[in-house]
């Protein structure tokens, strides 16, 4: 008998409300399969199971609020599991619902009531959420008895306050416990943008790659050189991660942010990253994320350039030990060693890192490596496997 417990959904989430089961007793489940939906302060999270087996008993009912670690269900291990389960099956992600339109009046009222309007079923034009929908949800969450019936609206109610509180708790812990140091580096982006322009020329608009994808990949590869920036600080020691699961900070329209992980950025091809990033942003905004994405980012990358800032002074998301911040890619004067000055697109990359796990010298190496990698975008594109990259980098070193 296997106990399946509510997995950690990130450091600032220690409980959740079970919204619904996606499986029934007797169902055969595969590792990686979504078995339940749990509401948290940040999103409705699709909880994945980490074992193959057959569902024996469901121990928690929809509507119940449960702390992380609570046994949700029991499973029977499959009879002949001689071969350990392989990588999780490529279970299709949940269909990404688009953001529901919300009328301004409805949004205002929802904020007053602490309801996340996007989670409501809309009755207005094109399914838009109207003022009446918000009022009805509020009445329902206050009036109706029965945990299952009230679960969705009551969990949604107050989510924005709960999210603010969760972010506050995680960031307070970060500022209290983590001795941050900060570094920044100006990175010329002419090569990277020219490469992107060539790559995107003639490509269908939906498949065009954003600079953010290239930067994400470069961050992941640069971390191979400085593994002390990628991992977790737990119980008095740093534990390096074996892969780069980059938490991508995504701001939510109703306020707040989430930083779910894109897995294995270091070993993923750029086209796959492009798709994954688009999918992740869409799902984060729609409030539909997977438990593995919430639980295991090994570093966070935040890109605030779209809002026009020059640089970011990041706060590390514990138990991670580093955060990479990117500002706006702007045309700036750039002086070469030869004395020549040219106007170039430049981005300021910053690193906030945990002094318990690394020193400024190593952090500086990371930023220098990031800068170098972004000068050779073709290398980033060629690199889809760890081995290939190390070979490439070694060759690169030989010429330097």
């Amino acid at each position: 008998m296997i106990r399946f417990e509510l997995p950690s959904l990130g450091p600032d989430m220690d409980e959740g409300t079970l919204l619904k089961w996606q499986v029934q007793p007797g169902d055969t489940v595969k590792r990686g399969q979504v078995v339940a939906v749990v509401d948290t302060s940040k999103a409705a999270v699709d909880v994945e199971i980490w074992q193959d087996g057959v569902v024996a008993e469901l121990l928690v009912k929809p509507g119940e609020k449960i702390p992380v670690g609570t046994a949700l269900a029991t499973l029977l291990a499959p009879g002949e599991v001689a071969g350990a389960p392989e990588a999780p099956p490529a279970a299709p992600g949940p269909a990404a619902p688009s953001r529901r339109p919300v009328s301004p009046a409805a949004r205002k009222r929802a904020q007053e009531l602490g309801i996340v309007a996007e989670t409501l079923a809309g009755t207005g034009a094109q399914g838009s959420v109207t003022l009446a929908d918000v009022e009805a949800a509020d009445r329902q969450s206050r009036g109706r008895a029965g945990p299952a019936a009230a679960a969705a609206p009551s969990a949604a109610a107050g989510r924005s306050q709960a999210m603010r509180k969760a972010i506050g708790a995680a960031m307070s812990r970060s500022k209290r416990e983590i001795p941050h140091y900060y570094l920044s580096e100006s990175i010329p982006m002419a090569n990277a943008l020219a490469w992107l322009q060539r790559r995107n020329d003639g490509v269908a608009i939906a498949e065009r790659m954003l600079p953010a994808v290239l930067i994400l990949k470069a961050v992941a590869l640069a971390l191979r050189r400085t593994p002390e920036l990628n991992g977790f600080y737990r119980e008095g020691q740093f534990i390096p991660a074996t892969a780069v699961h980059a938490g991508v900070a995504i701001s939510l329209r109703g306020g707040g942010l989430v930083a779910p992980a894109i897995h294995d950025v270091d070993s993923k091809a750029l086209d796959a990253l492009t798709r994954d990033l688009g999918d992740l942003v869409q799902r984060a905004r729609a409030g539909s994320l997977r438990s593995s994405e919430m639980a295991d980012p090994t570093i966070t990358v935040t890109n605030l350039g779209d809002q026009g800032v020059d640089s970011v002074f990041g706060v590390i998301y514990p138990p991670q030990v580093a955060l990479v911040g990117l500002g706006r890619i702007a045309t700036r004067p750039w002086a070469y060693d030869s004395g020549e000055i040219r106007a170039l697109p430049v981005v300021n990359a910053s690193l906030a890192a945990d002094h318990r796990a690394s020193d400024g010298h190593r952090g500086a190496l990371f930023l220098a490596e990031l800068r170098e990698l972004l000068q050779e975008p073709a290398l980033l594109a060629a690199d889809a496997s760890p081995a290939a990259s190390q070979d490439n980098r070694k060759k690169g070193d030989g010429h330097e």
Partner: protein, 87 residues
């Protein structure tokens, strides 16, 4: 259709597309001559999704080189009008 009526109709369609990405958008509050992204708080992913929707709806190709021309609502309307006539 005269030009002004045509522009009004296009503006309504464009804002409808934008609302699928930014549901809270209030059309009346949009100044057609100021940058759209600032007014609606769109990040680069939102903007890309908007351009995808725009291209699909009007059946126009929007090469990346043209992104810089699409700043305000008025720019977008001009671009769509030119694209429709050109094709």
């Amino acid at each position: 259709m005269n030009d002004e009526a045509d522009r009004r109709a296009l503006s309504g369609t464009v804002l409808d597309l934008l609302r699928k990405i930014a549901p809270e958008l209030e059309p009346a509050a949009i100044d057609p001559h100021r940058p759209l992204r600032r007014q609606v708080d769109l990040d680069s992913m939102d903007w890309l999704n908007f351009l995808i929707a725009l291209g699909a709806h009007f059946g126009i190709e929007i090469p990346e080189a043209d992104y810089a021309r699409l700043v305000s609502l008025a720019d977008v309307i001009d671009y769509v009008k030119a694209g429709r006539h050109g094709s």
